[in-house]
Symmetry: C2
Subunit: 405 residues, 2 copies
């Protein structure tokens, strides 16, 4: 019998117990032995739950039990999740987690601590919910150099943007609906202002480039400034506004940002709607790979937590295979203004203005919309250069978005 | 130094050498040691190639060299690829392969042989080219019961169908273009008649359900019967005709088929165009996951071959984790006519005919097209029941396709 402990018995913790109980036979066949949840750490009691008798309130009970070889941390928040993770690793126990805040903030240190103690620290569920992305990047794409990662990493904002586009609804109204449906928190700031996506792109950047950036310091623009007019304009241009976490290397430095992008329909990410997530990985050999699925939710996220548990208990994952991350310093980080991509600007004006804007943005790509508005899609250039060019024309854009290539 | 041998130095073999040479440093870091191609087995010589001095013509040289712990088989065809694979496994060497014909035909036996000899047999490149799908199904989805797998598994036919849809071109003309571009063979039968996709869905079915079906015996319909009218009608219905390999369990038996399906635009697979592949996996916990990328080509396929090589040389893959497949007997296989799904029928006729067809197909879902044609989308039912219902109406459909849900 393989004994494990769950830290936190909220939505994901409950889901993890459900996945383990429901797929028990298959899991035992995979691991070569049954997996048993010996303890559940939570502040609350769950007398009605079939596993209610496993609940403990003191982490020491788990740490001191040599039978428990693995703990799954699903508490959320930095503390005490970080502290319990350190203690578990130091006690020689493997740790798996769905906690993106802890991985994005302390990942480099925790991976080192795991290595020192010859145990694993896995976090598939911290990005993209149940979508396989962390392990595929580390195994299936190991033969490639990773060039860039771009993703819809937050289901709440994607639900809001999808509704705004499809139904012409206003941001505030859809946010209310999302809160009613349980997709958005009462305080939706971490979602709609982009911090949740920032934590996830920071984790993906560290996997791709080995440098862990501070998620609170990367350039992060949410969707609170996106209006029905913007989503309708994007639709007319043959695309959609999507909140994208993006990372790539620029001159050897790591560029990472979260921003609304215009995504044309030729890009598979433009078709990721509702609460789904989708992640594009650009590589030097395979080219572009795309991963799509349920980016949040009880069972999808639990599915990823249990996949990590099985990877360890079946003996596949070893501390030798943990990635090496270092905390990024100033010299490692590229200025977000250096991101080179096409940019779409929408202006009000006359055909002469259009000609002026096209010249400034070095492009022939423009289209007239209704109400005397026109859109110009620039050639590939940095934000600095594009904004300077627009300013020089004296025109004032009603919409300005980078294009996800 | 980790010594390996390549069997076959055609397109994929060349690509594998290129990936290993180009990403050498990163590969050495991953494996903890350098990877060296000690031998290349081919009938031909390659005096101009930088690795030309590694070419040998006798498999015995490789089998007898104890330094070589792994061979990558990229010869194509059943023989001598199968025979060399057996010999290498018996000699205690790991084998990785891109050869879908060998895996789909002899996979169950070769996995057993690998286990007996305590070595691995991996085949990520045999399905979906470079797309990570085999390993994610075995690791990331290990916590799930797999319910169904559906995919665009052949790039050539997807290129043809995309061109037919977007340009209104005829099948024969696009096939010629595909041959000029090198996407289709001079003899395109294996692609356009569906055998290539059949081999791949048989491999995915074995991964999902543990039973290896005979790829020559599953129901296989290619795209030679698809006309411009069909692709245009699908477009009008808000979808596309796609050649789909599909497998699911019906009453404990494995159903597998290759057929053109109508795929509505709400399904991510409908947006997989040109030579790309895309694979949907339905599971009981994660829900639906979708994997997309380059389904063929030199470097993408080589990327998957090298990922398998790294999985073994880094010590992640062990023979303990190889799947157990048994060769399916009659009792394991579900009749394809039992596939329950919606079906689209297009008829010529009057509103009375439409009413009759809707009643027969138990649906309110119909739409008038041009030229006095109408489409009826049935409720979910088996082919047997749907076809019988249509026959009873006396109407003769100009198009009849299952719908991919």
């Amino acid at each position: 019998m393989l004994q494990i402990a769950l830290l936190g018995f909220g939505v994901v913790g409950n889901g993890t117990a459900e996945v383990i109980l429901q797929n028990q036979k298959q899991i035992a066949a995979y691991c070569g032995d049954e997996v048993n949840i010996k303890y559940i750490l939570d502040l609350r009691d769950f007398p009605e739950h079939p596993l209610g008798n496993r609940v403990v309130h003191d982490i020491k009970i788990i740490l001191d039990d040599p039978e428990v070889t693995l703990v799954a941390e699903m508490m959320g928040g930095s503390h005490p999740a970080y502290d319990f993770t350190c203690a578990a690793l130091k006690a020689g126990k493997h740790v798996v987690t769905s906690n993106k805040e802890v991985v994005a903030t302390f990942g480099a240190e925790l991976l080192d601590l795991a290595r020192e103690n010859h145990v694993s620290y896995l976090f598939e569920a911290s990005v993209g919910g149940g979508i396989p992305i962390i392990r595929p990047m580390q195994t299936d794409l190991a033969s490639n150099e990773i060039l860039a990662v771009s993703g819809i990493l937050n289901g709440t904002t994607n639900f809001i943007l999808t509704k705004m586009k499809n139904e012409g609804a206003a941001f505030a109204d859809v946010l209310k609906l999302a809160q009613q449906k349980g997709y958005a928190e009462a305080n939706p700031a971490a979602d709609v202002e982009g911090l949740d996506a920032a934590r996830k792109i920071v984790i993906l950047a560290a996997l791709a480039f080995g440098k862990l950036l501070d998620p609170n310091k990367i350039s992060t623009t949410g969707i609170t400034g996106i209006t029905q007019e913007h989503t309708a304009l994007a639709d007319k241009l043959g695309g959609a506004v999507k909140l994208i976490g993006h990372t790539e290397k620029v001159d050897g430095r790591v560029l990472a940002l979260v921003s609304p992008f215009l995504v044309f329909s030729s890009n598979p990410i433009s078709h990721v709607d509702d609460v789904y997530n989708g992640i594009l990985v650009d590589t030097n050999m395979l080219g572009r790979a795309f991963f799509y699925g349920a980016g949040a939710g009880k069972l999808p996220t639990a599915s990823a937590v249990v996949a990590d548990i099985l990877d360890i208990l079946s003996g596949r994952s070893t501390d030798r295979r943990l990635p090496h991350w270092t905390v990024a310093d100033e010299a490692d980080i590229a200025d977000v203004a250096s991101l080179s991509c096409r940019r779409v600007y929408v202006f009000e004006g006359c055909p002469r203005c259009e000609a002026k804007a096209k010249t400034a943005l070095k492009t022939e790509d423009s289209v007239w919309l209704c109400d005397g508005k026109f859109a110009v899609i620039s050639s590939k250039m940095s934000a600095t250069n594009a904004d300077a060019a627009v300013t020089a024309t004296g025109l004032c854009p009603v919409l300005s978005l980078p294009v996800l290539e």
